[in-house]
């Protein structure tokens, strides 16, 4: 059997392992912060004595660590890996990626310290204090340059869907962040236009950065792991351009009924519905993942299902009649978790399970930990989303009746929020399992005394029990 591992994998180990390792560290830290924040939702007195641990800051910390620590690091690592492999030659500009990876993580750490000590901005998905923006921008550019060089220097003229998504994510995020920086911080726009600009950025961060990072992984791994050509692949480019052109317009749905021009939420409603076309094509292309072998495909199937469900729910809740009930409730959080955790993270988990054996040349240390992670992730996400939706239902009922005081709404939502805390604990445990497994695999790789045993790729994906 011809080994599938190429020079492109072994030569680009250093930056990829650095990014993945730091990503997993942030995943555990972010999970811990999110766990504390979720306890504070049903027991407000928990850790409320310290200003840096109040719920407002805690939730911003958890979100920042999760998005800019975990999703960014791991997504970038996999995007570089995908672009390097499809380019057909070893990754270039690796020192840039190493250098950028170090500074990106320093920037994220500084951002967390800043938020904890009172420099939070209060914008969704942009809790980063303004002074870390430049560090993050330049280190991101340093990491991304290797990927873009791989795109331009690819040996084949044709390109694949996974390359489009990866290149789009690498290219678009710095623009979105720098525009948001100018419009919100260095020359802030006035009044509610700030909220509109922040909503636009938050949506771009999801549809033009995190979602493409995840989709690039899915479009790469699914055909590789199933060994089949993607069905209806000729429509993939339509799906891609639909996401890129329409995605940025959907941010206004959170401002429905707010003090903004009415056309902004209206545009968002239309765009959310249009985006379903993109989701349809993605699912059409990648439906083979349901039948393929390997743990990577289990994660990716779950992630794609969550992606489709999330888009449907987004479109449904952008409508006036539905939003009247779901707006301002825990339903927003349920949707966010479904997207960031259920869709993006699960697909990236699948990508990690597929890529790490190829990058390091070692099989996963423990198959039990892999299965535990899969089970805890699926169960945790389902329980988290379901319990937040249940809390939202109780909250929405209470809010609609003006006679019900907030303390009573709180008592109604409390059991649901406790279930959400349990779900976060399960997710945290699963993430610790993944981090341990990854660290163990990396240690085996570093341990020179052990002879380099090569396992064929199929054996690597389905780890030895």
């Amino acid at each position: 059997m011809k080994p599938e591992v190429t020079a492109a994998d072994s030569s680009s180990r250093a930056p990829l392992v650095l990014l993945l390792l730091s990503g997993l560290a942030w995943l555990v830290i972010g999970g811990l912060l999110g766990f504390v924040a979720s306890i504070q939702l049903h027991s407000p007195a928990f850790l409320s004595g310290c200003p840096c641990l109040t719920y407002g800051r805690m939730s911003a910390l958890a979100e920042t660590a999760f998005v800019y620590g975990w999703l960014a690091n791991a997504g970038l690592a996999l995007a570089l890996w995908v672009l390097g492999r499809l380019a057909g030659e070893p990754l270039r500009a690796q020192n840039w990626a190493l250098f950028g990876g170090v500074f990106w993580n320093l920037g994220v750490a500084a951002a967390l310290a800043g938020v904890a000590t009172g420099d939070a901005t209060g914008f969704e998905l942009l809790g980063l204090p303004r002074y870390v923006h430049m560090v993050l921008l330049f280190s991101y550019a340093a990491i991304a340059v290797g990927g873009l060089l791989a795109w331009w220097g690819r040996l084949r003229l044709v390109s694949y869907a996974s390359q489009w998504y990866a290149a789009a994510a690498l290219f678009l995020f710095p623009w979105a962040l720098s525009i948001a920086h100018v419009m919100l911080f260095s020359a802030p726009v006035r009044g509610v236009v700030q909220s509109i600009a922040a909503g636009w950025y938050a949506q771009c961060a999801w549809t033009l950065w995190l979602a493409p990072l995840a989709l690039s992984v899915a479009y790469y791994v699914v055909p590789k792991a199933t060994g089949r050509v993607l069905p209806s692949y000729e429509f993939a480019s339509l799906g891609f351009w639909c996401l890129v052109f329409v995605g940025g317009l959907t941010g206004g749905r959170h401002l429905l009924g707010g003090p903004v021009p009415a056309w902004i939420p209206s545009v968002a409603v239309v765009s959310c519905a249009l985006l379903l076309f993109h989701v349809f094509i993605v699912l059409l292309n990648l439906r083979g993942c349901l039948t393929g072998p390997g743990v990577a495909l289990r994660f990716i199937s779950f992630g794609l299902a969550a992606y489709g469900a999330g888009a449907l729910v987004d479109a449904a809740t952008s409508f006036h009649a539905v939003a009247a009930h779901t707006q301002f409730t825990y339903f927003d959080e349920a949707q966010r978790e479904l997207a960031l955790y259920g869709a993006a993270s699960a697909i990236i988990f699948g990508g990690i399970y597929f890529a790490v054996p190829r990058i390091t040349g070692r099989a996963w240390l423990s198959g039990g930990l892999v299965r535990a992670h899969l089970f805890l992730t699926v169960a945790g996400v389902l329980l988290l989303v379901a319990s937040l939706a249940g809390a939202a239902l109780a909250q929405s009922r209470g809010l609609a009746d003006p006679a019900v005081p907030f303390a009573e709404i709180f008592r109604h939502t409390r059991p649901w929020l406790a279930a959400a805390t349990a779900a976060r604990a399960a997710l945290l445990l699963g993430n610790i399992a993944l981090a341990m497994n990854f660290a163990g695999t990396a240690c085996r790789f570093l341990n020179a005394s052990e002879p380099a045993s090569f396992n064929p790729p199929t054996a690597m994906e389905a780890p030895a029990p």
Binding site: G118, S159, V192, E333
Partner: protein
């Protein structure tokens, strides 16, 4: 080409959403009320502006919104959070508008103007110190200290009872951050009923309205219209131009009023604070000026007329420039 396409996609959404709304709202001016001789909204006091930073860095917006929705959309008015919806002009002078996304706690946009009882500074300080079942206590915003030998309590010491009472010879005083935060919370109120903030009347009422309501709006319109009418008539009579100039007062309204609220606004505009006649402090929205009189001039014209007001207003408003002369004549006649 690929990257140009990506860039174009990002640019399109940015230009459409952010620059589009900035063009619409970015030059919005405060509303000058002739009767009160001042413009709204008013600047935030310095302590309130500092308090907004406290609000922001503690992440209060994670649980509290500051935007009241229209009376016919949601429960906001029923909960006493405001008689009218929040509009963009309310946030004009806020350095960091805190609209928020979640209502774990109540909306605060109108906190200082709640009916029937709005909390005062002492209530808010107590709430921040004591917390409640569903809200954490913010003890770190307060300082517990020993009383001096004179044993005289500070003026601003919290009046605490029961379990919260500090030990003998001790007192709890708010820090500067707590006082700023409370000053900010007390500054949160809808200061003025802007023309674009007039409560929206559901369109289905239109069919029923002409049958019985013409008398009521007309009567309602007569009283507030009186003080404003003479200057309008005086200004409009010589030439149509000043009539056009009367429009800018509800200046940025037309653009926003293109939204559903605008179409129903004319019949309701009369009971609202009178569109002050000749006062035109804001030369904004130049191209929209001709359209603007539609909103402001229509109610006086339509109100006295026996025709179904709902349907007539938009039509009569569509040609206000030519009708400028008859319009003041009608209003003069109505007095």
């Amino acid at each position: 080409m690929f990257f140009l396409g990506l860039f174009a996609a990002l640019l399109i959404s940015w230009v459409a959403i952010v620059l589009g709304s900035n063009a619409q709202l970015g030059s919005q001016a405060p509303y000058y009320d002739d009767n009160q001789g001042t413009a709204f909204p008013q600047w935030m006091p310095g302590a309130a502006a500092r308090g907004q930073l406290v609000y922001r860095d503690l992440g209060c917006a994670a649980c509290h919104t500051q935007r009241v929705r229209r009376p016919d959309f949601g429960y906001d008015r029923a909960r006493g959070w405001g008689e009218r919806q929040s509009v963009a002009r309310d946030y004009l002078y806020q350095p960091w508008p805190q609209l928020g996304l979640a209502r774990v706690g109540p909306d605060l946009a109108n906190l200082a103007d709640r009916k029937p009882t709005a909390p005062d500074g002492d209530d808010l300080l107590h709430m921040l110190y004591a917390g409640s079942e569903d809200m954490p206590a913010y003890r770190f915003l307060f300082e517990e200290r020993r009383l001096g030998s004179s044993a005289q309590r500070s003026d601003d010491a919290l009046k605490l009872t029961g379990a919260l009472e500090p030990g003998r010879g001790r007192e709890v005083v708010p820090t500067a951050r707590a006082r700023d935060l409370v000053a900010y919370l007390l500054s949160l109120k809808a200061q003025y009923d802007y023309p674009e903030a007039v409560p929206y009347v559901a369109p289905r009422a239109e069919g029923a309205a002409p049958a019985k309501t013409p008398a009521a709006p007309a009567a309602g319109a007569a009283a507030p219209a009186k003080p404003a009418a003479p200057p309008t008539a005086g200004g409009a009579a010589p030439s149509p131009a000043p009539a056009g100039a009367a429009a800018p007062t509800p200046s940025a309204a037309p653009a926003q009023a293109a939204a559903p609220a605008g179409s129903a606004a004319p019949p309701v505009a009369a009971p609202s604070p009178t569109p002050a006649g000749t006062a035109a402090p804001t030369p904004s929205a130049a191209p929209a000026q001709t359209a603007a009189p539609a909103g402001s001039a229509a109610p006086p014209v339509a109100a006295p007329s026996p025709t179904p007001a709902g349907a007539a207003a938009p039509i009569s408003g569509s040609a206000p420039a030519q009708a400028a002369a008859p319009a003041p004549a009608h209003t003069g006649g109505s007095q």
